[in-house]
């Protein structure tokens, strides 16, 4: 075969490979969009996951019973009802001065009835008050969003200082030698450990031994170790890029090492550290195997850092359980869309920061 013919075949293979890569990305995004978009709605993004049934007392002079409720305006309560698709009575309108807005739950705490709530029953208690059974429909992902945010905050609070200080030690203090090699060797190895092993360790050490139970703290501590290599390596790169002359002139002016680090090195490293944080957030949002074994799969907002009511599923974990245990690919892919949006925003953010960093350096 001629040289040109051979070249063309190889060229074809190269183009086909690049095309395949792009095609796969489009296929994945397309699949998640097509499957998930029907599940995306305002209520999906703003509602609790589980239905919540509450008994409330409403101060209203009325003698209303459940049988009297029907579609239309209910004058004494100041609400408009409508029979929804499931045959339940849904509140579609609520007056400004409706007594339902001052409703109290059985503990006497204010629980204002909202538009979208379902009214299951009403019973008069006495002449001036009545009891109402209100169901606030779920089907939303608010608990998972909140848990994910908690997880991001908590992990970063733990991992960011440790990681950044480690990098400062490695670049500014440690002399080339055994200690630095050992630390680098450890970090390189940490980066290669798969998250399921971190999960095993976390479930044994943090969940059982430290008795944190399945909790966001156990999850965040496990995540912190996972994040260390990313934060340390990225910060190290940034510190390395700061010209030596900066430090020398500061030291030469009589500043101590610590003053130099605080006033000269760190301000110049800020955007690099920001990139490290953004990368970490991406890792936290995407992490699943380690969290499955440490933070649990309950769709709730954690009420404590650790202990019995502190477990919570992040978006990724919920997406997994929806597919595996509930066979609900539509809702799972709707969460997938939310995840994709987060990842795209993060990628864009880290790009912008890096670009700023580079343009400043060239000045």
């Amino acid at each position: 075969m001629s040289r040109k013919g051979k070249d063309n075949i190889v060229k074809g293979a190269i183009y086909a490979s690049a095309g395949f890569t792009v095609f796969v990305l489009i296929a994945i995004i397309g699949f998640v969009l097509v499957k998930g978009l029907p599940g995306i709605s305002i209520s999906f993004l703003t509602r609790n996951y589980e239905n919540k049934t509450t008994y409330v007392t409403v101060t209203a002079v009325t003698n209303l019973h459940t049988e009297d409720l029907q579609s239309g305006y209910i004058d004494p309560l100041g609400i408009t009802l409508k029979v929804n698709e499931d045959g339940k009575l849904e509140i579609t309108g609520i007056d400004k001065d409706s007594p339902c807005k001052d409703a109290l739950n059985l503990k006497g705490i204010s629980y204002p009835v909202k538009k979208g709530d379902l009214v299951a029953s009403v019973t008069p208690l006495n002449d001036t008050t009545m009891k109402m059974k209100v169901i606030r429909p779920g089907g939303g992902i608010v608990p998972m969003i909140v848990t994910t945010l908690y997880m991001i905050l908590l992990s970063l609070i733990i991992a960011a200082p440790i990681g950044i200080l480690s990098a400062i030690f490695l670049i500014e203090y440690a002399k080339p030698g055994k200690l630095r090699n050992i630390i680098h060797f450890a970090i390189e190895n940490l980066a290669g450990i798969p998250s399921i092993i971190y999960g095993l360790f976390g479930s044994l050490f943090f969940v059982k031994l430290c008795q944190l139970k399945y909790s966001i703290l156990a999850g965040a501590l496990t995540l912190s170790i996972i994040l260390l290599p990313t934060i340390i390596t990225t910060t190290e790169e940034t510190l390395k890029a700061i010209p030596k002359s900066y430090r020398e002139s500061s030291l030469g002016l009589g500043a101590t090492k610590l003053q130099t680090i605080r006033r000269v090195v760190l301000p110049n490293a800020l955007s690099g550290i920001l990139v490290a944080v953004i990368l970490s957030v991406g890792r936290i949002v995407g992490e699943s195997a380690a969290l499955l074994l440490t933070a649990g799969t309950v769709a709730q907002i954690p009420k404590a850092l650790f202990g019995n009511s502190a477990s919570g599923a992040t978006l990724t974990i919920k997406m997994y359980t929806l597919m595996k245990e509930e066979n609900d690919l539509t809702t799972a892919c709707a969460i997938g869309i939310v995840l994709l949006v987060i990842i795209i925003v993060l990628n864009f953010a880290s790009k912008t920061v890096t670009k700023k960093l580079l343009s400043r350096k060239s000045v």
Partner: protein
């Protein structure tokens, strides 16, 4: 004088804090190794010891009847990883060649973010893609009744290792000195000949570390694989249509409800996985150090 000494002391304390933070990474690695190995090796010692040979060579996992064999899982992990490499490495390296050498600037502007996005997609999403697209497609063409299979795992892992291979190969290719290429082109070689005879051989160690990192990622992947592998309780995979149960999914599937010996056996599975990862890490270190020496 006093103030100076105070300041010195302060500086010393801060430096110690920095050092302690830097040691957290080291302590973590040691703690992970000790805890996982201690718990994982426990069932093979003592009065009620389980035969290590039965564990490593067994092809049935039945905690109910106190049978724990992981050989078929090792086979699954190795086959899936090898498959993903055989398909993924050529595609990844060729894509890297495209981005670094052939693509017009405008295409590079689109390809880079695409690869970065592919790298950032959470593994659960890859699992959804596998479950929603790949598995049903395989079910249509497979001689067996199910779409969960080694083939599905290989396909999804291939896609998942692509970004790693592409990014690392691309930077390796870009690091090849321009003069190499110019010399080759000047001697009358075509662009393609130059790429395959000069550039790629020069970028060999970078591409090799891309391959090893890819292996690490593939063998450690859990969530995406768990949804599409089928996870049978026994049987060495004998074709690409067989259901498989890689080491990682064995751990993730049973960890939440296991206790006693079953849980220790999951840690033992983790030990095997860890050994594979150690081999991968050490290989990688050797490659990068060798490249550094050059």
């Amino acid at each position: 004088m006093v103030r100076n000494r105070k300041r010195e002391l302060y500086e010393k304390i801060v430096e110690t804090i920095f050092l302690l933070c830097a040691l957290v990474g080291v302590i973590s690695v040691i703690a992970i190794i000790i805890f996982v190995f201690y718990k994982g090796l426990h069932p093979f010692f003592g009065t009620d010891a389980y035969s290590f040979w039965d564990f490593i060579s067994g092809t049935r996992w039945a905690p109910g009847s106190d049978t724990y064999g992981v050989f078929y899982m090792i086979a699954a992990s190795v086959l899936a990883t090898a498959g993903a490499m055989v398909v993924g490495v050529p595609i990844g390296v060729l894509t890297a060649v495209f981005i670094a050498e052939l693509a017009p600037k405008r295409a590079v502007k689109w390809m880079r973010p695409a690869v970065e996005l592919l790298a950032g997609i959470p593994s659960v999403l890859y699992g959804a893609f596998g479950l929603g697209i790949i598995v049903p497609m395989i079910q249509v063409i497979s001689p067996r009744a199910h779409g969960h299979s080694l083939l599905a795992v290989i396909i999804v892992l291939t896609v998942m290792v692509l970004p790693t291979i592409i990014t690392l190969s691309e930077s390796a290719i870009r690091a090849v000195p321009k003069s190499y290429k110019e010399a080759s082109l000047g001697m009358g070689a075509t662009q393609i000949q130059t790429i395959f005879k000069v550039v790629l051989p020069a970028a060999k160690s970078g591409i090799l570390s891309a391959l090893v990192l890819g292996i690490g990622r593939a063998i450690g992947e859990t969530m995406a694989v768990m949804m599409i592998a089928g996870n049978p309780v026994q049987g060495i995979p004998n074709s690409i249509w067989s259901m498989v149960r890689p080491l990682t999914t064995n751990i993730a599937m049973e960890m939440s409800y296991s206790s006693g010996r079953q849980q220790e056996m999951l840690f033992a599975t983790g030990v095997i996985l860890f050994l594979f990862i150690m081999i991968v890490n050490l290989t990688l270190l050797r490659i990068t150090h060798k490249a550094g020496e050059k």
